[in-house]
Subunit: 318 residues, 6 copies
């Protein structure tokens, strides 16, 4: 019965600034089996080659998520009436050992996946998506709608290091977790290291929609193309806040000017309703660079947008 | 004779950072009868249910208003040549007694109204518009063009409290001060408490143009619709800075991403030239959350935009 | 058995930036009967006559309290081994109705007191201490060691309002909750409204140690005097962060320069070990005015200092 | 041979936060003859009539320019392969003597010009463009594409002072350095001092495209008009960051809301590829008003955009 | 009759955040003859060789001065009962012409001096004290108690420029305005340009008490020495906020660590009561570098401290 | 001849905000053999278990070091006249591989040591001192004067990780690089993980002077004890800015309230003149947590203090 599902605190009784700041002011759970959608933090930025700080992302997104209410004003989706949603706390991490951290994170998500819950995660840097994929896509490769200023398909850094926040999707493709032909990247922009930086993405069949193409196509045509690429197979949505212009999301490690507005990003996520969604994340919110919490608020709101389409997808699949 | 009207300090003689920061660097008045348009601060946020701070709004808007010049660059309206404009100081308030504050504010505006001056106010939270209406609309209900992310037509909070910054327009309609059928709300958005949050607004006939509809219609069509709704009856313009995207106006108590740009907002206000205007306000500038004064600058500029159309309206009515 | 007592998360396994930010990273409780010392937030600043914001204090003190460890480095007190300590969440409040808020807070503390737990609270503005006293001191008046820049024994504001953050201790004395002859105020300073501002405090027998006297006496002599005043009766410690110089605690509503250092404040609190303590609080941390969280860190550390002497007092009383 | 040209540090070996922060992490040069394009800072804001701070611009733009990579992602221009680019340090200035500063700056640029290098400069306030013109345009007047919120063609301030950051282009025209009929100003907006503020610009034939006309025309039509105006004569591009909306570039001395987005600005600069370019600058980045470095990042990125079209122009001219 | 003297707004009726921010919330005057002590702003930093911003000092000190009350809590001086005090506005300045600015400021102070009022000024950089001296000390040289991290007796900068904020007191001595043998400098510290930087000060007989000597002597012995030096001749007090440690006063152009605490500074100023005072100033508050207004609050409080001893001196002289 | 030694830029010709921000505005060198004292940055914080950011320390300390002048005002040491000092750039690092980073850093310092230069370093987190010791102390163990809030002699974190910024000195002792009996730690404070946290330090003979003992002893007695402990053997000075109270140095990863003032710290370092110094560092400046650059200024000034005693030591050894 829907009325037994976990509910956020009522802001007309407990003000938004009061109470323990869990995600969306939902109850905190330890057992993923009690949930259909598990909200999870991954406080780790060990893959960051430039400005660290995304390790503090989950805490500040939880903080700002107190401003979210219960029903989507456009789609009218009421996620807490459709499915069981709760805060499952943070994945275990290791700030000084990259490989150990990847293992700990993967293990946590394997437990969620095994329990039948769908994770909606907040990073952390973008490398956290790799261990999530290792847990969720072990059985078969998944597709992805990827919002980002960067393709994150680089190969090596600092000698021969294969794992950084610039490499997760090359690794995921190499490991058979991500199907490049069912992958669309939207908002890519900014100067590049060399003329063939995007060669890998192109060769393996990723559909890259640069910011400039997005600006020319507009939201609707981009959405149509994204939906065409991923089709009806299992699909993950990864939202790197640096897809947004730094005016909208200054608190991130690798900002690139000339990005998306939040309104465009919201329309894009809303337009993914109906896909066969198996998880989602919001990454690269970096509070030390986020004066006033603006980016954490964006992260929390995009998390709510993703929650609505995930909840709808789960309700439809029942 | 126009050249006797109060004039701002001359920036080519007294730099903008110098001098007492009155609104627009205009002279300060005590008697509203000396003015056609009274610029008034209402430093009060006692109706705020979440993040307080708008009580500091008038001071910081005054501060940033030093950057305003004298003539509108598009409409060519020169308000200080058309009518007598001055800074009438702040309305009296009470930071610890809500009902007493409402009374004090109403009394101050009754004095302005009785003197024949038109008020252009800076809040304060949005509840300050209610006592202003009680003073200005005592004789007959007025219409309103309302820019906001929120409808502010909720009913009760924290038990049975009828007065918060989320309720002023329900109260104003109940009290016969505001004509809902001559009211248009523009920019409404953000998650809602329940699916029927907007039932009251709809039932009483308010024309709600959500942000998404605004984005689809564009500025011109929205303006046409707004002008149609309010017609040529007496009309008030209430500008809550949270109608703007937080990238443009971060310093506010209840930010909602996905909002308007300042350029859109300016075009909207300019498009209201020619209405039968009886007052206007800019509310919810909250300096403690406004790093660097960006939102106060927006508030000051929107105040100048409103001043131009008010001055023009008064000059036309003569 | 001590090892069954609630323990903070282990920072060598779960980094300080990870996990739900409860006070001291302790488990969260709903029933005060499970605790000897209840850590409580009171997110309310409805008594603030100037700059609001202390309503956000509990959340940010919780946030910064993640930096606290488990054992006091000077006294060697290990509070979590001595008594059961946990986060009891926030007291219920009402941001728009002062009298209702006072009632809700009092009710929450009555429940704690009835359960036999001792509260260690984080405000909120200083008016929150009044309803706490109404719950804790109903049976007999208590004494107080009061750290503050202000005496908080004013009478009326804004007409005839008796309740503001400048009046709690006059009210508490009038209501027979606080014994003025067992009350010592330390650190009082700053310009005053009139020459007889401190007449009430003097007349009723409060021992006021102005900042200048504290500077002359030094920590040890001040401590001796404070201990002499309160004696061995039941005593409360109220720590307003504005007793500190704004260099050490900028994020507060009524800063006064020329205050205490944190090292002096720590020495003072440590010197209260052995008193017959019945409760304590840290108030007036105002995050919107606290750039970088410095004051919240001070608040969290002073809370740990207070926790250690409270835990020791409880262990001694057993 | 291209591979002998100066190259930025390699971010896959030396992280972006490491190393001396020269422009674009390029080698530092003392002799302009070793360069085709000289990157120069002009740390001077002595012409600023309102909020100073642009003197710190070069340092912070250097700082943020570490985030730039080597190849333009749209035009595929690889400037460091086409021409010799290096950091030539800062022009000599004098913070307390305006006329002496103008002379020192002019002398520095005369040396660059004589060596055959093309300068790409970072101010400083907009008055720095005047001594640059005196060095570059001594032989014949040049044309200009001017991005700005202000026309900067005022006449006198504070009595009879002819040199401020509001007057450089009137002076440049009077001195025969700038051809007004080959000058286009884009993005002009904001309230004006008097109705005839733009009389000079209009009379001498400058093509002024106000922000409102830009919004109506769109990027492509504006570009066509700009290219028509400047034709194929020698042309300078001056980019005042206040052409951008303060949401995108808050750190500037005279912000005006309702401005351009960074994406629009980037498209505009890219569209100037192929012009007969003789120099460019980015001015009015004011770090003391730039919380978090957002505006310096914008400045660095626009500098890279300008560098690409300059490098292309030089390569084409060979 | 004292009760006719100008009084600050009453904070128990008009909250501190309300009303026009004049100095101390006093009435604003145009005629110095109506005042015994004229509070004056000098919004000018044209002598600043490093980080500008003190031009914004008067406005922000006015802003923070709203927190001041009416009676000194230690000396019990009630300045508004003793003499007529008011806000005389800002001296005229010129941000782009140093010599013209010096003349305008001097003229303004000549008018004050001629009217028989004593000025208490807020800078502005320290060069503003020179034109004040030219007005106040034209008849005979005066003595000075000078709080500062720097001696400000340098000679020339940037070629042969004699006027910067590092040179005012060498100029004042050369012009016969300041008697070096009746001058004491307290708090001097920080690395120096060369080993003979202080040769001038020593040779002309200034008593320099470096920070290290102050720390060794303590407040009382330093005060005795300062009073001995200035004796009972006419004396000016100049308080550069950089005498304070940057922890207490971060918002200044040339911070030097290892400075005074505010409590020490307050004790020092209080200890000057009884001198034959002819004026005072607080300089080098630089709001763009003053996050959160901490330094402006220090400036406002030191201004109140100075006001109390000035008012007392005037009352004694009657 | 001294006048051939590298000299900082002259601030009377090139303002402090101008020019490339090298350490102390000195020339940049690539070959350590050209230097007696090499100023080096180590932009790495891979050992940080809590709040990262010290990787940005060298850049911001370089930035603020522009405020340093040439001669010490107390000791009269003129380091640039005594020895050859220059900026040797940054040590190579690896932000995503801890062990590789330790190796790269060690290699860089081996080159400096082999060339006969003495390093004065800026971190980075405190783990960077370990590879520096591996290079400098390979021949024989050295002594250390260690300023810090934390002993940094922990053993393991996150399972079995031996290398973090909490462990360098236990590792250094185990590796025979640091002589514990010639090691003194000053300023240690803050809550601890367990009662035996300091057992290792005590057992191996480190002299730990807690903050409380320092406060009781005072600067002179502490200095005497420190000098007694290290004697006349080769000695390193390691200055962790968190030894300072967060009011003085907020921008650091693990702040502990109740710390030292900068004036005390300066006196302490000055008191080490005459020791047999072989190197020094300033670590844990974390710019993302350092609003306004206050901590970087402290870091730069402490670096200058250390430079003076190092230069003097080298000159004495000649």
């Amino acid at each position: 019965m829907p009325h037994d599902y976990p509910q956020p605190l009522d802001a007309a009784e407990i003000p938004r600034f009061a109470g323990i700041p869990s995600f969306m002011r939902l109850p905190i759970f330890e057992d993923p089996a009690q949930l259909d959608i598990a909200l999870v933090g991954v406080p780790w930025d060990g893959g960051t080659t430039n400005r660290a700080g995304a390790r503090h992302g989950p805490r500040e997104v939880r903080n700002q998520s107190s401003l979210m209410r219960k029903v989507h004003h456009v789609s009218r989706i009421a996620p807490y009436d459709l499915v069981r949603v709760g805060d499952l706390g943070d994945a275990p991490v290791n700030p000084i050992d990259l490989l150990d951290a990847l293992k700990r994170i993967e293990g946590f998500y394997r437990r969620i996946h095994a329990a039948g819950a769908v994770p909606l995660s907040v990073g952390g840097d973008h490398l956290v998506t790799l261990p999530i994929f290792r847990a969720l896509a072990a059985e078969r490769p998944i597709g992805m709608v990827h919002f980002d200023a960067h393709s994150d398909t680089n190969d090596r850094y600092f000698g021969d290091n294969p794992y950084t926040h610039g490499t997760p999707f090359r690794r995921a493709i190499e490991e058979g977790l991500l199907d490049p032909r069912r992958t669309v990247q939207i908002g890519i922009r900014g100067s590049v290291y060399s003329a063939d930086d995007e060669a890998f993405a192109e060769e393996c069949g990723i559909r890259v929609i640069h910011m400039e193409e997005f600006a020319a196509l507009g939201v609707e045509a981009t959405l149509a193309e994204a939906r065409r690429v991923v089709g009806d197979g299992p699909t993950y949505v990864s939202f790197d806040v640096d897809v947004l212009d730094p005016a909208f999301a200054p608190g991130t490690g690798t900002p690139e000017i000339g990005g998306m507005t939040t309104l465009q990003a919201q329309h894009m996520v809303r337009g993914l309703q109906g896909l066969n969604l198996v998880g989602a994340d919001v990454v690269e919110v970096s509070p030390p660079f986020d004066l006033g919490g603006a980016t954490a608020l964006v992260g929390a709101t995009m998390m709510f947008e993703l929650l609505c389409i995930l909840a709808d997808a789960l309700a439809q699949r029942r």
